[in-house]
Subunit: 353 residues, 4 copies
């Protein structure tokens, strides 16, 4: 609950962006997995701030430090403790935020719920938390090397990549800073984000994720359907407003005779409106889904807001924030997906006593 994710393969996290460190405990990881630490750091680097001109210019090396659960380079089956020291928590002046509630942030709700709030850098609501998830996901990925998980930017504002994912070359995702596997669309997105940034504004976008080579049978019926677990995971990411898989919202306008996925003799299907999941359980086809991100709430423009006493005040956004979170969200989406898949492989194994 709350700060814990997963059923058998779990991650429990802590951390505020302006405290000494963030980190967590990965529990239930099978023993004997030889970890590639460079690959783990590489995932963090894909998420880290300052990596390109279209993300926040804040600098954090985001170096993960493992404290337990690994012996001679392999997982032991014991819980894996890790942390990422915060190196950028400069003694910035937060007095302007302390008593004011930034619009569309969690300042107001946290203040009301907890009374005592860490206002520096958003405290626990900081998206810095997602670096912890990337660590968990990077470990998870190494437990299931046979499964391919690729996320990419499919929309920024009104710029949409409409090409079916089957026609995309996922090896191009990392070839541009937008993380869009279509060079032309990527350029448009980069230009648009740059423009938005100049205006001191921000913009939302959509991430598409494709999971391939998934065995048949993952997912628990009724309340732990595989797509429901994936949906909950994605809706946990800061700024996410929507999730759809397979035919998604468009499927709602279709008829059954159009939408049904007809079988091939080997159990695969001719179409895949189901998105690789039927009755909550994977059918061996590609799993694909979309995640909608709203624009970042911090804009470098003057806004009206209230302080804790209900006075209307003027506020000017400060700080080095992302004009668009989508490019940095790619490894986060993949990380959560990887943890869901490992967890369900373990659950499925347990069921087959």
């Amino acid at each position: 609950m709350a700060n814990k994710f997963g059923n058998l393969f779990t991650i429990t996290t802590f951390g505020e962006s302006h405290g000494p460190a963030i980190g967590g405990v990965i529990d239930g990881c099978p023993a004997g997995i030889e970890l590639d630490f460079e690959a783990i750091q590489n995932e963090l680097d894909r998420r880290k701030p300052g990596q390109s001109k279209i993300v926040t210019q804040r600098k954090e090396p985001d170096t993960v430090e493992f404290m337990a659960g690994i012996f001679e380079g392999k997982t032991t089956g014991a819980s894996i403790g890790f942390r990422i020291v915060n190196t950028n928590q400069k003694s910035k002046d937060y007095s302007h935020i302390k008593d004011q509630y930034r619009p569309s942030h969690a300042d107001y709700t946290y203040s009301q719920k907890y009374g005592h709030r860490d206002y520096k850098g958003g405290g626990r609501t900081s998206a810095r938390e997602t670096a912890n998830w990337v660590v968990g996901g990077a470990v998870a990925k190494q437990a299931i090397p046979e499964i391919k998980i690729n996320a990419f930017t499919s929309s920024v504002g009104n710029i949409h990549l409409d090409t079916p994912y089957q026609e995309l070359d996922f090896s191009l995702i990392e070839s541009n800073i937008a993380r869009c596997p279509d060079a032309k669309k990527a350029e448009e997105m980069i230009d648009y984000i740059s423009e938005i940034k100049k205006q001191g504004d921000t913009v939302g976008g959509v991430v598409t994720c494709v999971i391939q080579n998934v065995p048949v049978g993952l997912g628990e019926p009724i309340f732990d359907k595989l797509h429901a677990q994936l949906g909950k995971a994605m809706l946990s990411i800061n700024a996410v407003k929507g999730f759809e898989f397979g035919s998604g919202f468009e499927g709602a306008a279709m008829t059954g005779s159009q939408h049904n996925d007809i079988f091939n003799a080997d159990g695969s299907t001719k179409t895949n409106y189901s998105g690789g999941i039927q009755g909550g359980i994977s059918n061996g086809m590609d799993i694909y889904f979309k995640v909608a991100f709203k624009p970042v709430a911090t804009v470098i423009q003057e806004q009206e807001t209230i302080d804790k006493d209900g006075n209307i005040v003027k506020m000017m956004g400060k700080g080095r924030h992302d004009p668009c979170v989508v490019p940095r969200a790619i490894p986060i989406v993949e990380a959560l997906a990887a943890m869901v898949i490992v967890d369900n492989i373990m659950l499925d194994k347990a069921r087959r006593i």
Copy 2:
């Protein structure tokens, strides 16, 4: 996990449509709630088959029978056991389904996962399960009479009700069999569903749900954000392919300066793109979200499929299925929402020791 929903207010369920009964255990319900049994049955009646010409013509009275946890008409705080006897499990011939996998059903995935499958009426994958949820939700609603939960049909196929929910009269939802609070749109929807039904086909749709009068502070940060819990709940409903709240997928195309909800002096906001939830925690504004339903997979048309040995066979849909599930899904969406809200009121109370 699996057949259990919720954290503190939970429901654990069982049942196949063609077995003796479905039912469940509601656990954690606070003591002393005087139950209105007629209201509970009324919710079941809103979901039951045979209620109108645009739903399945199967007849089931769906009478709930409470077996424990209630004394002198009030909840005791003990677990509430209930069941709904299946009266319609006629000794129908299922031999045509036994060894065949219906397209876009869960026949194939269940067979692969469990080996031994109850093929009658879909077994555990039957949407009849949702009657259990309606019972849980009806009890939950009575624990929080001050909170108003209204769901309605906002799309059927390409017929969309685009009126902002604030301009709708929720008292009209039950005035028509489409459960759309706009008489004209409702008529269009009813006509379209009737037409689709004649063709032996089915169609999807969208449900919108609005939760009003929610206290500030509900929801747990990080992995149990209020909207993530709602999303997971909705994605558990059979046929659901997508979930969005507040600005949803449209919000992904907006800029921060457009999307930010500016505060009024009392903590309420001038706009509500946030959908009543900020940082995963309710802010006191209306919570609203949309749920996309794909078309029902059973069509009364000849389809090609495979049998368990991988032979391509012809199959003709039989049975009395819904041409569109959306009108019957309304009470299900409300029920799950009610359980999530009660659960989070309890969680929030626990946090304020």
Copy 3:
């Protein structure tokens, strides 16, 4: 939590002795297990009231009725719903209990916690609940036929069976109504219980349980040690006041050089003070433990007590209660042990991805 037991193989229960039925949901049971229904009923018969002269003379057939999760005699992997109809909830006069708190019962604590209390037959606190567990355990046993679980009466009052369990013939447990595999001790116990009963009094006792043929490796480290799970399970049984495994409280008086279990070449140990569990994980040796039961609180003697207004009143125990619960507790101890073992076999399997 609360009314749910287990991690992956779980049982969630409901029921009061004087309501319409008790029952529950067994969730996570692997698919394809061919159930022997007679064996399940037989376990219930070992627990049922009225079975001998030294137990309560109340008559309940305790017939279990399965409602879901079983198809053609085999488990399907879906949740198993069951109930046991209460046939003995006669319209007895409970007015003497309604406003009074029976000493050493849960009347006072339930009243204070829940406010609204079902006072008939103890409501939810009735040990009738344990019939549900026996159903769960009987199903669990059939999932692990290779594992032998035998519980027996090892003490009644001050009559102790001190023979090491290795020298006992477990096939004699069911040969007498005390369920003590030593005919002479059994007779002493029966005589003593009969005597106590005549006095309108009750007496406590101890159950020993031995689990044999357990694979090496069951149990989760740190907070789900196998013995901690067994201990919690046993401490859930009404009237239990203590749990010890292996050397138990006597081990606390030993030295390390006495207590250490020296290995044989095959990994087995020469002694077994560890009780088959080391570091929380089974080592393949017999698991054995003891469970202490206090005397039943209902005595057919006049006692002083208080009513809800704090008045001191006289109260005379009524009803047909057990003079000693231990003989009927045997199948309950075995049932819980069986569920713990199955659960941990599943957990262990999940860990070995």
Copy 4:
């Protein structure tokens, strides 16, 4: 599960004694608690090695470092991350243990379960883990300053403190290194442990714990009875073999008319064989229980054992181990008890919606 303890107030831990650090995440701690860090460190000091002549002479400062969840000295309601750096993990030669299984340790079971084992200092099975629990318990204690939790040494070997706890002065517990509130018994215990130590042997003992000023109503019925939660917690401590509360195993020899706790007019009881818990729920009387610890398995004597290939080998215990763990176990027992109580106060609050 596994490395997580608690329902709402939880602790999730990691760490091996010879890795870089141990630590954990305290989740669900209410916001606004002003932490006394000196008091937290003081609890760790009560547990730390090297504190007296009758415990291990290993030196570890055991300084806790908080990394998150605390702002301006108060808890924020966010998860609290902490760690304790291992300063004593010297590059000792463990080659003698690497391939051998020490008798009555977890070497064999861990090797069999996980395959890949951290053999240094026992890896994850090290009782160093309990320092994490002491941190969690120290925070929990500060959330409930009104509740008094006192544990003390009541037996070492065959030296028993039989005085009823009501006649003891708990302020004397810390007055001697045995942590026994009876000066004479303490001296006997200290002498005996010193003697045992000289022999290179170890000895077990018993801890008694008393929890006072507990509100009525804590505990969940059926499977989360307050004493079952306490029992599971205590059985999680390394070396524990038994748990009893109230009358415990002695109660099993009593009759109902002796054992029943007769009420006073105010709801308190004249005797307290129930141990402050009736039907799993606290009744406001003192909660008291006993925990049995076996002797430490590491003895500085030659023992026969096996290596991983099943060869019989001679082994000589090395290292600086405790001759008796009981004095250092006192703060651990209190810590777990404190976490159980806070957790149940929160659960109880949630139930009273």
